[in-house]
Symmetry: C2
Subunit: 314 residues, 2 copies
């Protein structure tokens, strides 16, 4: 099997290593000669244009979102399997519909960020036991989804089926809004006294504010609608919390905090027992909505092994 | 020298260990027989009522804020040095003025939380190189402040001088608001799909949501005015960020994020060179405002060794 990977940063580079582990013939592609040189030195075939990946059975798009339109324009004739790893899914699906209408596209997103970036930080085990969303929209071919899911399971990841819109709403809540809040708290506490008094809770809650601003900007702006919706929900809930702040009755805000404490202590969810299930669109979507994932696809592509979260215990 | 410590949790217990290391004769006090038993088993003298600490040259109040009025009522006749470790300072100063008008009070707050709590988690080195605010208000005696500062420096901490109101505003920004945001993000992402997709940025930004709700409630409600003010500033800044979210122009929000990235990469502040300085109220307040701290008090109590943050480099 031949696979192409466009964009040789942390995720793309890790894909090269992980696909090689699976005995794929992999070709990497990057506009940056330096990234190509690193991959080439590691023994990978590299090309400089996505057009040269046409023979690959599957092509992974691992560039940042702003680079995607240019890459897709060069893949406009593609009819084979095409997937991506971008942190926003509905806008990418729109781009693919526009630029590559004949490609068999399955949008994807591995939840596998690291603080380091670039090919040098790539590692074949980056995806082990990480959630990896594969989008199942009305126009996604079920057999395309299943083929992509089999490969992503083989990479070690947990395949979470979800419509693009549900993915975008969820990552706004668990990643994009936390990035904006980390920046906002850092900006709030920029005076010298605050910076000297800041300790553990500041350190943790602002860690991702150190992410390269251009990356965070692409991620949050690219998912603007969902980020905005999540910010509105958050703001309303913070307003409720603020109304409960009473120095003469600290217990007033207790239950609001205790709900969060309960949910946080029970995170991450545990894995329930694996189950065999036939592959239907409805069953996969229900699995994803329940926080479950696919960990294997049967060789004939008719059944999946699924795992749901265990009961939430604190 | 004799020192008393009321409240034998993490901070109070650590004070017992650290004061013993300084050869203080220490007496611990707690209403909870279990906490007293733990301290007694560790070889400390323990009493059950604050009244029994009257002979101590210095008494540390290390109970949670809601327990303070009851403790202070029992120390109402005290004329000696009195300090506390509560995370809010203006309301405590008011309580002390009301209940112990003759005590020589210096409000304090070590920035030394841990995820564990209770006497069992206490350790003598908990305060090493941690910021420890000692409040310098208009009615704080400068010699009382200096005596307390000498002791706190000996405990290993960095003594930050600040008016109570400035302390309260700063900890709202670096600790109380982050605690509320951690809870709000956890509540926002409580659906099963979000919980399964949540990864590093969620983990870090919500870590303190696992804190015991009663502790966070006491902390945030006790500092309600400053928390509210900080939330308002944060909200206005988030509104500004939201207005900059444009999928067609991700660079619009770049500078907003880059300011945060710059500040976060330069945190924590480095320590500049130690300097000798005479002790004046104005110089100490300026030092604190600049994010500086006192690391030693001269034996005669006339001079301090001060450290300011080094230049902010990213």
């Amino acid at each position: 099997m031949r696979a192409g990977v466009v964009g040789l940063g942390l995720i793309g580079g890790s894909l090269l290593w992980a696909l090689r582990r699976l005995d794929y013939a992999v070709v990497g592609c990057d506009v940056d000669p330096e990234a190509r040189a690193l991959a080439s030195d590691a023994g990978f075939d590299v090309v400089s244009s996505p057009r040269e990946l046409d023979g690959a059975e599957v092509v992974f798009l691992a560039t940042p979102l702003p680079a995607l339109p240019g890459v897709l324009a060069q893949l406009s004739g593609r009819t084979g399997l095409l997937t991506d790893v971008t942190s926003v899914k509905a806008p990418v699906a729109d781009l693919v519909r526009r630029h590559c209408p004949r490609a068999r596209f399955v949008g994807g997103h591995p939840m596998a960020g690291k603080e380091t970036s670039g090919f040098a930080a790539a590692q074949s085990e980056l995806f082990d036991d990480r959630a990896w969303v594969l989008c199942l929209d009305d126009d996604t071919g079920l057999s395309d989804w299943t083929r992509t899911a089999r490969l992503v399971c083989a990479l070690g990841a947990r395949v979470c089926p979800a419509p693009s819109a549900q993915h975008d709403a969820a990552v706004a809540r668990v990643s994009h809004v936390p990035h904006l809040l980390a920046a906002a708290v850092t900006r709030l506490a920029a005076d010298p006294l605050s910076r000297t008094l800041a300790a553990g809770s500041f350190a943790d809650s602002t860690r991702v504010a150190a992410t390269r601003a251009a990356l965070t900007a692409a991620m949050c702006a690219g998912n603007a609608d969902s980020v905005r919706a999540a910010l509105h929900t958050l703001r309303a809930d913070l307003d409720a919390a603020e109304a409960l702040l009473d120095p003469d009755a600290p217990e007033a805000i207790h239950d609001w905090l205790a709900t969060a404490q309960h949910h946080r202590l029970a995170w991450p969810p545990t894995a329930g027992s694996p189950q065999q299930a036939p592959i239907t669109r409805a069953a996969l979507l229900e699995l994803g909505r329940d926080g479950g994932w696919v960990c294997a696809v049967s060789p004939d592509g008719d059944a999946v092994t699924t795992v749901r979260p265990g009961p939430q215990v604190t």
